[in-house]
Amino acid sequence: MKLFKRLVPWILLAFAFFILPAMANSELFGFSQFRLNLFGRYFSLAFVALGVDLIWGYTGLLSLGQGIFFSLGGYAIAMHLLLVTKNDFTTGANGLPKFFENYGVDNLPFFWEPFWSFPVSIIAVFIVPSVIAGFVGYLIFRNRIKGVYFSIITQASLMVFYHFFNGQQKLVNGTNGLKTSTTEIFGLVAGSDEAQVLFFRITLILLPFAYLLCKYLTSGRFGDSLVAIRDDEPRLRFSGFNPTPFKVIVFVVAGGLAGISGALYTVQSGIVSPQFMSISMSIEMVIWVAVGGRGTLVGPIIGAVLVNYLRSLVSEALPEAWLFVQGALFVFVVVLMPDGIYGWFTKGGFTSMLAAFGIAKKTATYPKLDFDESVQEESFKV
């Protein structure tokens, strides 16, 4: 049974990797290429959710600025694709990406130059967001800014980047963003079905690595320190630890994951635009984690896929209702289900519900919490 439990995620992964593309190809059960592409997007969003879980679920820092790193990753890959592709849709008369023509730009802006090279671009996808996360994180954590202040500052940083990318038409095409669907990669048009299946599979191959990285970070001493920062930072500091490097490292990792996520999402959605840096997008990332189960590593993946799938379903059926559903989801999860779906099952929520209906046996602690004196004293101290 235990072995079976361990195998379940891998079976699901193999199913998604081999069967889903085949199903999409033969249109089995109404599953189409379009759906496959959507699922590819959801899985790519799971990366950023893992990052959010690291900083929020484990370290207790609610970052509302993950959209910065997400879009930077997206812009990095989009810039590379736009540069190397030479076809009528993307290349203008002067050999540069077409949108430069609209603003009369003849010389490539200097920061586009490194993106001619494929390896550099791939590295930039996670290095650029990580470096910026490190810089921003160091500035914030050095001053012991935390709690709600941290959230506000990260949101303000998000707005800085949003307005910058929005306002710079001559550098990054402003509001319109960069379109990648007509570009070519590995000899395929990025918007074609073959390329999308490829991206889908790349996403699924990378996902376990991201998961294992997070698993490695959260187990052991480093992970314990993160949880200690979340639960009682002053105490950690009094016992001789400096929490700043821990926070910066975890913020950097989360930024890198967000960058990879953004790149994968961009090639699958066909566009990267400053909308990825809108306030709502970054807060949504948090709610995926909350729905799935924060403080667990399976939770964010479940949450990202589930919430976004729900989003597609609701928006297709009744576009106006999605904001209501989303808002209700925020309130519901925060008030009634703080552990999320996965946490609800693993932390005894499900069994206590069954017990309430008399289906399962009640689990009791001994001595009972209500009468144990030491427990009562503890609660008074807090």
Partner: protein
């Protein structure tokens, strides 16, 4: 120089609106440590209340229409204050001591409010009323053994779900009756509020520079309201209680101050101020469901920059933000000083759009916090968390 002065006036009036909104946010934040992300949507509600009041008064014409704005101010304060109190009593109270969760929950509320304003119609109001009544009645007339059963809380959820589904059915059936029921009241479009005649035009001039009535009115309005807030906080009984709870919640509770009521009242006042700010915004531009989002981040910045729980800091910070944004963003520096050196000129040009002025201001604030992490006027006192 005229241009700079008029931009200064613009900046002051935008700063005044920010001040109203940020004061409400700051009082609540200082008292409960809670960030209300729905604050911007309360501004939006205030603006829509103004629109409704205007439409009610328009057919009356004459003097009644001229004075509608005063009534709109009061109405927007009251309506948003009620919204705030309800929100506090139903939701915020359950999340006490969990500021980050509160932030997420209020964001959920703000999404619901935005979509509500976009799609509210008679059918929807009827449906919501049916849901609320049915849900309440089902809980009320539940047999006692069921109420005390171990699964009562789950049953409650099921009953509310049933009520919600019935409400949805009611909405879809009433909406299918006719356009009278299904027509959205406001819709997603932007709406315009016409300022009354006495606000349009100019109110005299100083040294040859005309004073636009709307801008002056907003500045005076916000000054008066802030004075009222200061009076309320320092002189009235409830104000003193609010300050006591802000300083030390446990001690105040021990001394018999009803902290629950203090929370509700504070939240109500904070939301009400947001409503008035929304009412003032209608004079500056059109009203849309997304109005709140564009102001909320600036409000946070004002609080962070000014320091929590300090009105003077809030005032200075909001005025600075408003003025810097309007003077740099409008590019009037380029016109006022045509012969500045080229290097400086290119820098000023780079930031001379609304977007880029935001970038400049926010970078400035983040840099400022490196030197004073707790804002210009930090709260005094000792605590581990500081």
């Amino acid at each position: 120089m005229d241009l700079i002065f008029s931009q200064l006036l613009d900046g002051l009036s935008i700063g005044a609106v920010l001040l109203l909104a940020a004061t409400g946010l700051a009082i609540v934040f200082g008292l409960m440590g809670v960030i209300n992300l729905a604050h911007g949507e309360f501004m939006m509600i205030g603006a829509y209340v103004t629109f409704v009041v205007q439409n009610i008064f328009r057919p009356l014409g004459g003097f009644a229409f001229e004075s509608y704005y005063i009534i709109a101010l009061i109405a927007s304060f009251l309506v948003t204050a009620i919204f705030g109190v309800v929100l506090e009593k139903t939701l915020i109270r359950r999340l006490y001591g969990r500021p980050l969760e509160t932030l997420l929950a209020t964001w959920g509320i703000s999404l619901i409010l935005i979509q509500f304003v976009r799609s509210v119609s008679l059918a929807m109001v009827i449906g919501i009323a049916v849901t609320a009544l049915l849900g309440w009645a089902l809980q009320k007339f539940l047999p006692l053994p069921l109420k005390q059963a171990s699964f009562a809380s789950y049953l409650k959820g099921v009953l509310w779900t049933v009520a919600g589904i019935v409400g949805l059915i009611v909405i879809s059936t009433t909406a299918s009756i006719g356009r009278f029921f299904s027509n959205p009241w406001f819709g997603p479009r932007n709406l315009d509020v016409t300022p009354p005649k006495w606000l349009q035009g100019t109110w005299g001039s100083i040294a040859g520079i005309e004073l636009p009535g709307i801008r002056i009115f907003i500045i005076i309005l916000s000054a008066l309201l802030i004075a009222a807030v200061v009076w309320f906080l320092t002189k009235s009984v409830w104000g003193v209680r609010i300050r006591a709870v802000t300083q030390n919640r446990e001690m105040s509770n021990c001394l018999g101050i009803p902290t629950d009521s203090v929370d509700s009242i504070t939240f109500g006042i904070g939301s009400g101020l947001a409503g008035v700010a929304g009412c003032a915004i209608t004079l500056l531009g059109s009203v849309g469901p997304n109005l709140g989002g564009s102001y909320i981040v600036s409000c946070f910045m004002v609080i962070v920059l000014g320091g929590v729980g300090n009105l003077l800091g809030t005032i200075i910070a909001s005025m600075m933000l408003g003025i810097i944004q309007s003077i740099i963003g409008s590019g009037s520096l380029l016109i006022a000083f045509p012969d500045m050196p080229n290097s400086l000129r290119s820098v000023v040009e780079f930031f001379a759009t609304t977007s880029m002025s935001y970038v400049l201001v926010f970078i400035f604030i983040i840099a400022f916090l490196q030197f004073k992490p707790t804002g210009m006027f930090p709260q005094k006192g000792r605590s581990v968390e500081a």
